[in-house]
Amino acid sequence: MEPTPAIRSSSRETRLLLVTLAVSAILLLVLARFRFPEDRPLPASAVPAGQALERLAARATYDELATLVARVDRRVAPSVLVLEVGSWSVGGADAVELAPLRYAVGLRVRDDMALVALAPDESARMLDDPTAREAEVLARDEMRDLAVVRIPRSPAQTLAIVDIRAQNAAPTYLVAIEAGRAGPAARPFFLGRTDPLIDPRWNQPLTALGGPQAAEPGAFVFTLNAEFAGLVVAAGGLPALAPAAALLAAADELAAGRGRAAGGLGIELQPLTAPLARATGAARGVVVASVDASGPAADLEPGDVIEAIDDRPVASLDQARLLVRSLAPGSTAKLRIRRGGNIVEATVTVRAHPTAGPPAATLGVAVRVRRGIGLEVQAVDEGSAGARAGLRPGDVIVAVNRAPATGAVALTRAWSEAPSGSALLVAFVRDSRGRVTALEKP
């Protein structure tokens, strides 16, 4: 008897179904073992035709750029947060209700830790935190103005990092995540070249970002594929990109509680101008303006020209300051000094930079009375409360806590009677202009 078509089709369908289900199951099991690869830029083609095709295929239209930036914004959102930054209570004093000086982006490097660009005299707190409590600073890298702060716990995302310079990615668009009152904001900017920039604070070359408008220091930078590229830092007054790898290494150090203080030598420096160059016979370097007699470089003299620090030539005042700050406190540094036409080598033991740390316990200001005017500052000890307040020799203090400064005793008595954790309001005149500062007492 001939089988009916219904029976034939049923068996065929069942066989087809079983085979298809088996193939689907195998496909599911096999494909589930893979992970979707992160987008990475294709290597530049060495063939001119290939380069032309790559340009043709480049997705650089502004519409697409906006879409890509929005996508980056969404993808990095779990990793970034905004902190209010101020200097209201550094050093453990009670919190003072002040408006934040600025907003800063924090990058979540652990579930409860964020990396943020924070100067040594700054503290941070969560944006819109109703309790206005400061975020606990777990460790600071005062040399690079970085800190790791504790933040509310939330799962940290794994960040893919990219080395812009190593991949020769320019020209390209990057996305800077900047901080604002409303939260993090993504802003694209164009990177035309990847010129290296040597900064002694970083053990890897930075990438120059161009003019000051390119990106705001403190912003974290991502590629259009949401890969972490680095942090915008100020180098020589211009924005530069600190590479992500170095940044995360620094974050690991800080997260482990290994902070780093900036170095100091107890000297004041000034730039080598043409007249000073003729007078000293130096062609390059920076001039020592004053020397702290109790500091590590007490052997130096005003008028000395520091030409090199640790065999690294000094070309400018900014570079010299960065070099000094990059020295680890407790280490030794070799200075090449031009003194009276001769070259002198000096080895000094680096100490911590005086701006670091809690408020000083000493007033550290020597004054003389200028009758009918006030108290003229004669000297200011490094690391003292006077130095932290920004007082300089030559300033004339005219009032202390709103009372006329009629004598040195009035100043020292006001300081000694001030309760711990308070601050004295000091009005002074500098360059014929009135100013106000505060002497903080720990």
Binding site: L16, L27, L31, R33, F36
Partner: protein, 390 residues
């Protein structure tokens, strides 16, 4: 011309194709005449095979005549096209006959099972792959599942082949459940909360009913064909525009309106069917060309393509097998095989999702589903014997 063919899914068989096929195309060309494409081109197995590649050629990957700004301007027209497709799906439902109600239930069961199968499999993969999506993995998987759930079966060329008629009706009616579920999915996406989603879905359905009621009154009182045509066009535009404004699916508003006209007294369903038939092929062509032009060379689309095709095939076969066992007397045993051809509504739904959600992954989904539609058509050619394909 049978009522079955008359109300069949747009993009599937149409009356002229049926006549061409009935006269008998030679040999292997038999299956190439399932649908006569628009613009007077020769009949093809499915218009997608002609017009999706045409869209690729005209789009950013080709001549860039349909550049992205142009495609953005076409979103409004696309909403109207989707609403028209929804209307056809709604008009295909016949509540009055018990047999038709059973078919609707069977078709809904089949498409829901397919959608569930593909959604679960895609969800597993998307979660494992850790895709860079701005949609949640389950929503992304559901988009693929619903896009895979619809079918476009071949037509019956022999009046006495009742089981083939049944398979065709199943293919016609299996759009309904995915359209409804897709509307709920989009309402959930834009609603913000369960209550918001329910409210948005109700508003969408209400808008469709209100516009359908207004159109019903207009059609019934239109004096001249030209006047009636303007009303029809206006109502379709309203259905598409209202859904786009709500961020929901024009397919759903169109479906609601089609069902309303089908059950409303008078001749509204016949009026809208006659008038929309003139727009049928241009709308299909527009939809397919826009889908083709929206295709992007995207790694995500490549990753999704093969799983979409394979899981859809398995889902269709499994759902067809299960449905035919639920009502063995009613359904052909090879129902699943007959439902392999994908039709257009899946592609239409994914285009709708891409526009309505604004997802950055929308282009990849459209690319995967459009290319998957082409691949599924090829699979259908190989899997469905010519004898069954008619």
């Amino acid at each position: 011309m049978s009522p079955t063919v008359e109300s069949s899914q747009i993009g599937g068989p149409d009356p002229l194709d049926a006549e061409l096929a009935a006269r008998g195309a030679p040999g292997g060309l038999t299956y190439l005449v399932r649908t006569r494409a628009a613009l007077g081109l020769p009949p093809l197995v499915a218009p997608a095979i002609a017009f999706v590649p045409l869209g690729i050629g005209l789009g950013p990957l080709g001549l860039d005549l349909l550049a992205r700004p142009v495609l953005a301007h076409l979103d409004a027209v696309l909403a109207a096209a989707l609403a028209a497709l929804g209307i056809f799906a709604g008009l295909a439902i016949d509540w009055r006959a018990p047999h038709e109600r059973r078919l609707l239930a069977a078709a809904s069961l089949e498409s829901t099972l397919t959608a569930a199968f593909v959604t679960l499999a895609a969800w597993r993969l998307i979660a494992a792959w850790d895709l860079p999506l701005d949609l949640s993995p389950i929503v992304a998987a559901a988009v693929l599942g619903l896009g895979a759930a619809v079918s476009s079966a071949g037509h019956a060329d022999r009046a006495d082949d009742a089981l083939v008629h049944t398979a065709t009706r199943i293919a016609d009616l299996d759009d309904v459940a995915p359209i409804v579920l897709g509307g709920i999915l989009l309402a959930g996406f834009h609603g913000g909360s369960p209550a918001g989603a329910v409210w948005l879905a109700m508003v969408t359905v209400g808008a469709g009913l209100a516009i359908a009621a207004a159109g019903w009154l207009l059609f019934e009182h239109a004096g001249r064909p030209a006047e009636r045509g303007v009303f029809v066009l206006g109502v379709v535009l309203l259905l598409g525009g209202a859904a786009a404004y709500l961020g929901n699916s024009p397919l759903l508003t169109g479906l609601v309106a089609g069902v309303f006209w089908r059950v409303a007294p008078g001749r509204a369903d016949q009026v809208i069917r006659d008038d929309l038939r003139r727009l049928q092929h241009p709308l299909v062509v527009l939809l397919l060309i826009v889908a083709g032009a929206s295709i992007a060379v995207d790694r995500l689309a490549v990753w999704l393509l093969v799983p979409f095709v394979v899981f859809r095939l398995a889902g269709k076969l499994a759902a067809g097998w299960a449905t035919s066992r639920v009502a063995p007397a009613l359904m052909p045993a090879d129902l699943g095989v007959r439902l392999i051809p994908p039709g257009l509504l899946g592609l239409a739904f994914v285009l709708n999702v891409a526009v309505a959600t604004g997802s950055s992954a929308g282009g990849a989904f459209v690319s995967a589903v459009a290319l998957g539609t082409l691949a599924s058509e090829v699979v259908a050619m190989l899997a469905v014997p010519a004898r069954r394909r008619s």
